[in-house]
Symmetry: C2
Subunit: 471 residues, 2 copies
């Protein structure tokens, strides 16, 4: 049995404006009808092959991870929360320590949560071969046979055969310039480094101890000292912070003599930037990929995506248009990998910072809300509350609120008095009252909140009690 380890802490800044730091790439339905994280969960759902997965993520994404797993009907037993971002070496080492505690012979399948993979027979055949090679004492990488001279990926030079489709790694090649990528493609014997691995926990930890002892020690201590918090395991902050910020490739793979590679040809993309999303999507004869309410004419090689306004593109070539409710990106598709610099600039400016952080709809463990109209004296929000969930008991100093239930049933407690509201009923919450909203029903509760007051910031909230442990 393999223990899947899903890495779900990435930020996906090059897929802005769809991907934002509070709900990045792996948690949005970018392609395929569910989130990439959920698709990753599906790939490890075969109970004849896999145990329950270990998720490594950060505290900010803990409810997203839990909710999206629940939506998929997956029970998560181990969600490791990284107290700081320390790159893949520390994340994988922590997972390996945690797995080793339970089973010294554990084999780990490391899966980034933000890749697009077609899990067909080829894929599972490769997984089985990788497992066999891992049990034979190798740290196995999955290498994708290249289809074009991509400059956005690292490459692996495939070395001598080990049988069963497995090879030793001859060497790793960093992201190449275009002529080098073309040479490798023409020459053959090179594969893309996919970032997916199959590792015996014990071997990985011993190699880590030998080659990156700081990482090994920091991750080990962080696991030993970890604290349980609801369904989450918080790695120890101080211990984890001592790990160098280094990728598993640099720390281990490029230095071990136990690295093996399995060249594979299943459909794979890291969806690293909008050009990769375009390549992964269906396109018309002119190379136009569309998603959402869009209209593309007289154009070639475009990616046009909208989850909001109707987008009309006419007479253009090589353009990405990505429209969300509150931000629209229009850029050269073939230069999509440069978007990191643009989002960095947006993040650095006061008036655009929020656009890189949150979507118009914010998700909370109990459901979420969208601000649908904002003025200086009032704000209109749509709230949605999951069945059985309740918000914190709270009060506001500067605003009163009207709630109109438009779907489901609300249990509203105002200054200790409980009222049940159904669709088409409303209630008033005067300034300063203590109140709590709960959904006692079996379907999602939706309500429209009209706030009025002199200050309408999210920080005017005094939480008196909260079942999710928030202050």
């Amino acid at each position: 049995m393999i223990i899947p380890v899903i890495l779900a802490g990435g930020q996906g800044t090059r897929l802005w404006p769809m991907s934002r730091s509070a709900r990045p790439k792996q948690f949005i339905d970018l392609i395929g009808g569910s989130s990439l994280f959920q698709q990753t969960l599906s790939r490890v759902s075969d109970k004849s092959r896999y145990t329950a997965p270990i998720i490594v993520t950060n505290a900010e994404y803990r409810f997203l991870v839990a909710d999206q797993a629940q939506e998929q009907g997956v029970t998560l037993e181990t969600i490791l929360l990284e107290p700081s971002a320390r790159n893949t070496a520390a994340a994988i080492a922590a997972a390996a320590h945690a797995a080793f505690q339970q089973d010294e012979e554990a084999v780990l399948h490391i899966l980034p949560s933000d890749h697009l993979v077609t899990a067909d027979d080829d894929y599972f055949h490769a997984v089985d071969r990788a497992q066999a090679a891992a049990r034979d004492g190798y740290l196995v990488t999955f290498g994708i046979n290249p289809s074009w001279p991509e400059t956005g990926y690292g490459y692996i030079a495939v070395g001598e055969g080990l049988g069963n489709g497995t090879h030793k790694v001859a060497r790793f090649v960093e992201k190449p310039v275009a002529p080098e990528a073309e040479r490798m493609l023409a020459e053959g014997g090179f594969v893309w480094n996919s970032g997916m691995f199959m590792l015996p926990a014990k071997l990985f930890l011993s190699e880590c101890e030998a080659l990156a002892p700081d990482v090994h020690a920091a991750a080990g201590a962080a696991v030993v000292l970890a604290k349980r918090d609801l369904d989450f395991t918080r790695l120890d902050t101080e211990a984890f912070a001592k790990s160098p910020d280094i990728s598993v490739d640099y720390a281990i793979f490029e230095r071990t003599d136990r690295a093996a590679v399995i060249p594979v040809s299943f459909q794979w993309s890291d969806l690293g930037a909008w050009d990769a999303v375009w390549k992964a999507q269906d396109r018309d004869a002119n190379g136009n990929a569309r998603s959402g309410p869009v209209d593309v004419s007289n154009s070639t090689n475009t990616l046009v995506v909208s989850d909001s306004a109707h987008v009309v593109v006419d007479g253009l070539d090589d353009v990405a248009v990505i429209a969300t409710e509150d931000a629209v990106l229009v850029s050269r598709l073939s230069a999509a990998q440069n978007l990191g610099a643009v989002t960095k600039r947006l993040r650095g400016a006061e008036h655009t910072k929020a656009l890189t952080e949150t979507h118009k709809t914010s998700y909370r463990p109990w459901g979420g809300y969208a601000s649908i109209l904002m003025s200086d004296r009032f704000q209109v929000k749509k709230l949605f509350v999951k069945p059985g969930k309740k918000l914190s008991l709270q009060k506001h100093h500067h605003r009163s609120e009207h709630w109109v239930v438009v779907r489901g049933t609300a249990e509203v407690t105002i200054d200790g008095k409980v009222t049940m509201l159904t669709e088409n009923q409303s209630i008033y919450l005067p300034l300063g009252c203590t109140h709590r909203l709960a959904n006692p029903g079996k379907i999602e509760l939706e309500l429209i909140e009209v706030q009025t007051g002199s200050y309408l910031g999210e920080d005017d909230i005094i939480r008196i009690e909260d079942e999710f442990g928030r202050q």
Copy 2:
């Protein structure tokens, strides 16, 4: 004294998505801080030169015309409503008939309401010369000295001098192909046909009677049989429909021997398409023009306009990006004149038709509303009601409504019972009740309406009484 005649019936389809048929180009704040119609009113506000203007528009725009004039503090005495679109010859002939009834010696200054003009000393100097030439017995056109070889305008070949900067028209030249436009610019002696005229009403009518007798007769009968409706004059439908659909250039100017032209050099643009808007705006050193919350980098020759989402444009050349709340256009700027075909296609498709007709915010004589959230079972609207105005007495068969006042004072009548609501108060309107909303206050009333019901279309409205004469 000159009688200004403002033509305000155009549709402006090539400035979609900002311009839509229910509120086209001339009524939106496209450039300059007020609408082009309002800017046109300002140009004729000098009471030492002009009488009150005659507005020619269609029934759909009558409240827009009245409201925007009121906003400017302009009292309109004559608003002629065209019962059908019959092009400029009939519109000007109707205005000339109406003016002639009042003053047989009237001189008319014909102004399209959707042009951008810098009304500086040069401009008024030209107006004065045009008036003198008109009183000398000429039908005067304003010809703009060309600054580039524009192919989107008609040209006028300037003929022999008549003194005082006025010339006879040698001939009219239709919109030229590029080489011809370049030849005319190089050769000199050609000006752009601006569509602005100075006409003695009597001479225009006699030339019209001689050269386009159908137009003359139809417009004359439509004025004689016109009906007064509130502040509007409805031209007779049957009579007006008999006019041929023909421009004043074809019908009169190209055939009369009384045509004169005054070459002028004041700033003028017909803002006919997005490239003209770009030319009329301030641009940075790379040729980028910006308006609204936008961010343009590594780009040249772009027009980026947003009245809603934050728009980020990176790495592009020769592109127009126009973002509104519910539609975004991305097209080649230099091909902006082709947009007519795109909007025609949108208008022809059921799911995009509404995007060519109305903005997200709809304007009514009493104020207006914006749909801010729509689902199959509920809708949230923001309503705004002008001081002293009231909506129709009405009821709905399929929806109930909650109203929350967020600004101002509301007088709400439900089944005969009157309630006054102030900011932060709410009221419920059960399905089937007769109700009426009024703003008895001195400031604009704003309220949030939450509708719930099985059918939420605008046509579920039974008007029992309406002060604006609507059914």
